[in-house]
């Protein structure tokens, strides 16, 4: 079922899976650029002290969350399956847009929180947009590539968390070093 949905995400677009994949990835990058720019703009709009306080508090809350539970706080859902019925460019475009934002569907890993939070800390809409676009490229670009190569990764999320969770905590510690003045 999952394979069917994933296939449908990149099919049904001018009869070409290549075009559908391009629409999917472009749409994802577009939404990621918008989200990154918004977070960067929000960070830039605040005084450095306020930004540091908010980011430090958020990082602390996320670390506590990561300690208490392996599964992050998230919207536990996939993209809207009704989009599969369009059978045209909208299936790829809407899925790409949602997946590029990241937080409107299952995120799976605490490490995801670093993306919007660091985009906020960067406090530069352009740099934040480019950084968020890297997420979309990695998330959706790799999915499209794997689908094109007919490679499917069944499960493995527990093993991936075993690597991603420690990385998230290290990254949150690093973020603390960025926002909190150290002697």
């Amino acid at each position: 079922m999952i394979i069917m949905i994933t296939r449908a995400r990149v099919s049904g677009c001018f009869g070409s899976s290549l075009v559908a994949g391009a629409v999917l990835v472009s749409s994802a990058i577009g939404s990621a650029v918008l989200a990154g720019a918004a977070f960067g703009l929000l960070g830039a709009a605040l005084e450095p002290a306020s930004r540091a306080l908010l980011a430090g508090a958020a990082a602390a809350v996320i670390v506590v969350g990561a300690i208490l539970r392996p599964v992050p706080w998230q919207l536990d859902r996939e993209t809207d399956t009704a989009w599969l019925t369009y059978q045209d460019w909208r299936t790829a475009a809407y899925n790409g847009f949602a997946l590029g934002l990241g937080f409107t569907t299952r995120i799976g890993f605490w490490l995801f929180y670093l993306v919007p939070l660091t985009a906020f800390v960067v406090a530069d809409p352009l740099l934040a947009a480019l950084g968020y676009a890297a997420f979309a490229l990695s998330r959706v670009g790799m999915s499209a590539l794997l689908a094109a190569l007919d490679v499917w990764i069944p499960g493995g999320i527990e093993r991936a968390r075993f690597i991603a969770d420690p990385l998230a905590v290290i990254a949150l510690g690093a973020l603390f070093a960025v926002v909190v003045p150290w002697p």
Binding site: L68, F109, T118, A134, R161, A164, G173
Partner: protein, 52 residues
């Protein structure tokens, strides 16, 4: 190991030194925040390929 990794006590014991490692690594490396953003973005995007 996966079962152990789900225990809050184990996660706490692991988290504190890791967070300190992050602080020290960042200070030592002297990198810019955008580098952290790009690194986290690329890694989590790859990890999410395992999402159900």
């Amino acid at each position: 190991m996966g079962h152990l990794a789900g225990k809050p006590l184990f996660r706490t014991a692991l988290a504190l030194p890791l967070a300190m490692l992050g602080v020290l690594a960042w200070q030592g490396a002297g990198l810019e925040p955008w580098a952290l953003l790009v690194t986290a973005a690329l890694i989590v995007g790859l990890a999410q390929q395992t999402l159900p």
